[in-house]
């Protein structure tokens, strides 16, 4: 447990597509800006309809996206969530629930805008991911 815990978050972030364009000092700044947080199996991270949620990036583990109790998607290492709620300033429309021990880094909603402006490459990666989600949703509908 100790060894796994001692993993340098900077190294993990360096391996995620979201932060792939950042330099080492920038990754260190990101690691100091986000807070590490662990969730136990079954624990809710985002709560449908609750204000004040944050932006999360998964470092390890899996989580389910549930709307009114129905699972709509599964998230894993490198995935992020909470950004829609933060960007729109609205409560999340889904619960996100840990399916097994889940390790994330979290950024307060109010800090997300200045962070994305300071790191436009991360913002671009988020846009790419959102575009993929939109495309997949449209494919599903058609």
């Amino acid at each position: 447990m100790r060894n796994r815990d001692a993993d340098d978050i900077v190294d993990i972030l360096a391996g995620l597509a979201l932060f792939a364009d950042l330099t080492r000092p920038q990754l260190q700044a990101v690691a100091h800006t986000f807070d590490e947080e662990w969730f136990t199996e079954g624990q809710r991270i985002l709560r449908q309809g609750f204000t004040g949620s944050n932006f999360y990036v998964i470092l390890e583990g899996e989580a389910a996206v549930r709307i009114n109790g129905e699972t709509r998607a599964t998230l894993a290492r490198g995935d992020f969530f909470g950004e829609v709620s933060v960007l729109l300033g609205e409560p999340p429309t889904a619960d996100v629930v840990a399916l097994r021990p889940l390790r994330c880094v979290a950024l307060a909603g109010v800090e997300t805008e200045p962070f994305l402006i300071a790191y436009p490459h991360v913002m671009y990666r988020i846009l790419q991911a959102q575009a993929r989600r939109l495309r997949n949703a449209n494919l599903w509908r058609s």
Partner: protein, 494 residues
């Protein structure tokens, strides 16, 4: 003391063992005693106070205790204005730290804080076996055996209130030789020196503030910009912001966003090699370097027992009731409870790192442990017409809700059989995620604009909905508009 100690809590079997005699241990022990849950409290220290026997280094706290405030000293509402005193049910035990203050500052000195804690331990008769050092832990059936310098303690529940005051440094080449915050010399010793402070949190700014009249140049460096309480509600306290103002005005203090790559000892002093977050490398040749890189929890062998940790092993992972998520029966009190984040609304996670916050966690924990041992904590019932004024009074005056925003809540349940029951103060995260009867949890929160406001969480048939009430410029949430809005949220329940 030694003779007295020999009679107190000798090694043996106890339902609960509490380790630590800082504010976290004393506060928990006080409430366990009030509830009547048998326990032994042991401490390696020779007397009460914990980290306040030594720190803060420059001998003045950064959290207020206001001798005169908009509530009478000795009352429960006054506890919101005294973030440093331990809390109590008896008026004569309340606000002891502010009673020790000499009126120079509304931030108590370290000595005043320590005096207040000692007075609390004495007057509340919080009994501790001092000079008894916990050294090992092992499982024993459904309990634990704590090996100590005085012998073995067996218990079903062990609570560790051992603080978070052990120096911690990140693994940066050369860092092992760099003096830590705790090794800082008297400010005068830095007269005319160039000093590089690694870290931009409270401890870094505390030292910068102390060195301002002495150092020739002060540089604070770490990868991220400083987070300031005056802007975000959390981070570096205003008391230490003079060096930051100096930096803004270009007065000779430099606050840099840079990763520290290496620290080298040189013949005359130190060389600090940095990579700036915005790009580019820079070297600093300075007389002194101090690692203001924070602290870790002295968890001893608990990780070997299976206690899971995070933040590079600096804090245990824990439940909303501050129980290890990996080893049931191991609990934490005091500043370690900052490892339980609650709902993290707008990024906030209560104020559990500081006495002002964790003292309230200790009462909640004591009542939770009482339940595990079959002790019923008396609860009062309310008439329907009392519910709304009571909850709004709590939102306006309750120190638990004001100190632990969006973290602790006043809970009232609506039982069909037993009527309306005041359940006391509970962790908000527990209330919203666990099943229970129809109920309301009243909390105070800070929104994205920094405005404080009450928030009600109403559970009906297992579903919890949030009802945010508006802010009030004078933080008075008891008026008619609040009564009407809360009545709407509770429609059908009262």
């Amino acid at each position: 003391m030694a003779q007295l100690n020999a009679q107190l809590f000798p090694p043996g079997q106890y339902p609960v063992v509490v380790v630590g005699s800082g504010p976290g241990g004393l506060q928990l022990s006080y409430y366990l005693q009030r509830i009547g849950l048998e326990h032994a409290t042991i401490s390696a220290d020779p007397g009460p106070g914990g980290m306040f026997r030594r720190y803060p280094l420059f001998q003045r706290l950064n959290t207020w205790s206001k001798p005169y405030a908009d509530a009478d000293r000795g009352t429960r509402p006054y506890e919101w204005y005294d973030w440093n005193g331990l809390v109590a049910d008896e008026p004569e035990l309340r606000s002891l730290v502010s009673q020790m203050m000499e009126g120079i500052s509304y931030f108590p000195s370290r000595a005043e804080m320590e005096k207040g804690l000692v007075a609390f331990a004495e007057r509340a008769r919080v009994r501790v076996r001092y000079g008894c050092r916990w050294g090992s832990t092992r499982r024993d059936g459904d309990g634990f055996v704590l090996g100590t310098s005085d012998g073995e303690y067996r218990c079903r529940v062990a609570v560790f209130a051992v603080g978070m005051a052990e120096p911690w440094k990140p693994s940066i080449p050369g860092m092992e030789d760099v003096p830590h915050y705790v090794d800082t010399k008297p400010a005068k010793a830095y007269a005319g020196k160039r000093v590089f402070l690694i870290g931009k949190r409270n401890s870094g700014f505390e030292i910068a503030d102390a060195l301002l009249p002495w150092a020739r140049q002060i540089i604070l460096g770490s990868p991220r910009p400083p987070v300031l309480t005056v802007l975000t509600g959390g981070g570096v306290r205003a008391k230490y912001l003079v060096p930051y103002e100096d930096h803004v005005l270009g007065g000779g203090v430099f606050v840099l966003e840079a990763a520290i790559e290496r620290v080298d000892r040189t013949r005359e002093g130190w060389r600090v090699v940095t990579s700036e977050t915005a790009g580019g490398a820079r070297e600093f040749v300075v007389d002194d370097v101090i690692a203001c890189t924070g602290f870790t929890t002295p968890l001893g062998d608990l990780p070997d027992l299976g206690v899971a940790t995070f933040m590079q092993g600096r804090l245990p992972r824990m439940s909303p009731f501050w129980e290890s998520t990996a080893v049931p029966g191991i609990y934490f009190s005091g500043t370690i409870t900052q490892g339980a984040f609650g709902l993290r609304k707008h990024g906030g996670s209560g104020n559990s790192a500081a006495v002002g916050g964790f003292r309230h966690n200790a009462k909640v924990l004591a009542e939770h442990l009482a339940g595990k041992f079959g002790i019923t904590v008396p609860r009062t019932t309310l008439k329907p017409e009392e519910v709304i004024p009571y909850l709004l009074s709590e939102a306006t005056h309750a120190p638990e809700l004001l100190n632990q925003k969006a973290y602790l809540a006043r809970v009232v349940s609506f039982y069909k059989s037993r009527g309306i029951t005041d359940e006391g103060i509970l962790p908000l995260g527990y209330f919203v995620d666990e099943p229970g009867p129809d109920a309301i949890a009243m909390s105070v929160e800070t929104d994205e604009h920094g405005h404080h406001h009450p928030a009600a969480y109403v559970r009906r048939e297992g579903h919890v909905s949030e009802h945010a009430l508006p802010p009030n410029a004078l933080l008075n949430f008891e008026g008619m508009p609040y009564q009407q809005q809360l009545a709407g949220a509770l429609s059908g329940l009262v």
